[in-house]
Point group: C2
Chain length 108, copies 2
DNA sequence: TTTGTTGTTCGCAAAATAACGAACAATTCT
DNA sequence: AGAATTGTTCGTTATTTTGCGAACAACAAA
């Protein structure tokens, strides 16, 4: 009861989900996914929060691996991290897969 | 820049994602999705955390609408909330849909 | 060199999360 | 009535999250 840990997949899925657990970060990801990529300023323009806060949200998304940023003086270009994005999609799809549920409503 | 809010869909998706943002809650959801439903004790048995903490995680999943619990003295039966579960699946699927991205790697 | 532009980082504060043991509530069993 | 079983709730502690303004850093332009 003390050392039962979680599987690596559960940890990874939770990590991605956590990163997506704020409307601002959802908005950022949608924006980036649609634009392929863009600059910090473009993202900030679209959000109702200060640039400091935007920067923090971007950091969290980067730490979670969902996006990546490259300095392009004097700007910073952000893009979706396609590789991890695909991993996330796969994990979520698997999670919501039509389940091994049988007939009845509830177990006896 | 001050009153730009998030869309209802973004808020809902973020709400679901946030609820899924912890490995224990992922484990609970996977367990319930596989079993159709079961008692509190069955869930607690599978997790490496105290019953008080399990109860809290279950509350959060219930508040997010992903599960539902019914008292069945002296036990409590928990099930996936199929309706909201389907909504979540739809929202996540839409989110990860193959994107409106065109040719090039990055915008100019 | 001075000025601008563009983002990040640094405090800081308030709120939310995560976790636990102990106490409590509800119901069944003896 | 008294004991046992099953979860929830309470009180507490530690950590994380969210948010902002102000200060800072890096480079381009004047």
């Amino acid at each position: 009861m003390t050392t039962k840990e979680y599987t690596a997949e559960q940890e990874r899925l939770a990590r991605f989900a956590k990163a997506m657990g704020h409307p601002a970060r959802i908005a950022i990801l949608e924006f980036l996914a649609a634009q392929e990529c863009c600059f910090f300023g473009d993202i900030h323009e679209v959000l109702p929060i200060s640039k400091a806060t935007v920067s923090q949200h971007l950091s969290e998304l980067r730490d979670a691996g969902l996006i990546q940023g490259t300095i392009e003086p004097p700007k910073v270009r952000y893009c979706i991290n396609r590789e991890n994005w695909a991993t996330a999609r796969r994990l979520f799809a698997g999670f919501f897969k039509e389940n091994n549920r049988e007939k009845g409503e509830c177990c006896p």
